[in-house]
Amino acid sequence: MAERIDFWSTLTAPLIRQNPVTLQILGICSALAVTTSLATALTMSVSLTVVLTLSAGIISVIRRHIPDTIRLIVQIVIVASLVIVISEVLKAYFAEISRALSVYVGLITTNCLVLGRTEAYARHHAPLPAIVDAFGNGLGYSLVLIVIGACRELFGKGELFGLQVLPLAEAGGWFTPLSLMLLAPSAFFLLGGLVWAIRSVRPEQAEAPEHIPPARAEPAE
């Protein structure tokens, strides 16, 4: 049991190399829905990181005593309770942002990222590494959300955190807002572009093609 765990690499691997969103394509539903502005993206990131870290910690503590037959139910119940607590806290202290996030905080329960980490990692590791791993994954998710959220808010409204950054053409500046950026499809484009960019820099992330198209037959004479 004297296995040394490299906390630093557990923490930083999910940032880019093993990023849960861009490599494993987990949790993209909420990543697309809440990134219209930086403030909602940031709140969502913090909520998910807190839920992920706490649930990984709790599940790791009881990992030797979770009966296999009900392990998914036990994990989901713990995750769902933490999500309800977070959602109540947001409603109490960040009422405005909680309204903007609407159902998506509740949907953290079904975010594959959370169950993926508790099932794949926390169930087999001691609490400390499990918490570090969960926190790292939370940060990886947050990084993607914040990049996409910043792009969409900057180009869609010329603002960051609600502050005007680019002078709007209507107000005498030069920037014409790209309203496509505020619509859902733009999140797909941005996420796709991000995945492409990361996989171009790190070709080892690219997946092998599932099937190879047959060689084109010579045109018949």
Partner: protein
């Protein structure tokens, strides 16, 4: 590990994970822990959330009043606050023994609700409270603005709104939607200022005194109509029925008559 067998907790932990006893007890312990967590958070945070909701409703009411031309100055003259009155809806006058503070307690009593028959229940409420809190803005003795809370059912669920009526109790000055669960992008557009702007200047009744207000299908064609929202016919119909119910005889009708007679 000999000697630890007397401890039931250790004996429980030592059970094999797939034994039936351990499965049931673990399930129970996890649910108990989560139940405590969730109820604790809800109970501790409820007062703060309640205050938030009240502040939000107050802010919407103020925004509604300030959005109506000429009302902001009147509001400043009256000290920046609207007078709140609890109305006895059946008699159309201020309730005697119910105040704003005791309204919630009074409405918790089923005896203070009137069941509605299907043919009169335009707004789809089932039953209607006997008391309602309205907001009045006076210019001297004259009432220059009345804010009437409305409740009805739309496509996705309950709609809560506040209608601002001018001193003639016929001209709408504005509307604010304080709560709804309509489809975002379709019926959900009832909380957009651009749609609500259409209410200003609409007249509720025609010359014979009949309530004619309606959310039109498409563009409004008369002084009694506001523009409909494309793709949200049922939300619009729900809104129409809500306004017609609450300004009719079972809603604020008696109050509006009393104000018309100058008794208020």
């Amino acid at each position: 590990m000999a000697g630890s067998d007397w401890n039931p907790w250790r004996r429980f932990l030592a059970l094999p994970n797939d034994s039936r006893t351990k499965t049931v007890i673990m399930a129970f312990l996890v649910s108990a822990f989560c139940a405590v967590l969730v109820s604790g958070a809800t109970v501790v945070l409820r007062p703060i959330q309640k205050a938030n909701r009240a502040a939000e409703e107050q802010a919407r009411i103020e925004a509604l009043v300030r959005g109506i031309p000429g009302m902001a100055t009147l509001l400043e003259q009256s000290g920046g606050t609207l007078s709140t009155v609890v109305i006895d809806l059946d008699r159309g006058r201020a309730a005697k023994d119910v105040t704003s503070d005791t309204l919630a307690a009074a409405l918790a009593d089923q005896g203070n609700w009137t069941p509605l028959a299907a043919e009169t229940d335009l707004a789809g409420l089932g039953h209607r409270p006997n008391f309602a809190q309205v907001f009045l803005l006076r210019n001297g003795e004259e009432i220059s603005l009345a804010l009437l809370p409305l409740t009805g059912s739309g496509y996705g669920g309950r709609i809560d709104a506040i209608l601002a009526l001018g001193g003639d109790m016929n001209t709408v000055h504005g509307v604010a939607v304080t709560g709804h669960s309509e489809t975002p992008g379709l019926g959900g557009r009832i909380d957009e200022a651009s749609w609500q702007a259409g209410f200003s200047g609409t007249e509720i009744r025609d010359a014979s005194g009949e309530v004619r207000f309606a959310v039109a299908r498409g563009r409004s064609t008369s002084v009694h109509e506001v523009d409909g929202i494309t793709g949200a016919t049922r939300t619009g119909n729900g809104f129409t029925r809500m306004v017609r119910f609450w300004l009719g005889p079972l809603g604020y009708g008696p109050l509006i008559d009393a104000i018309g007679r100058g008794e208020f």
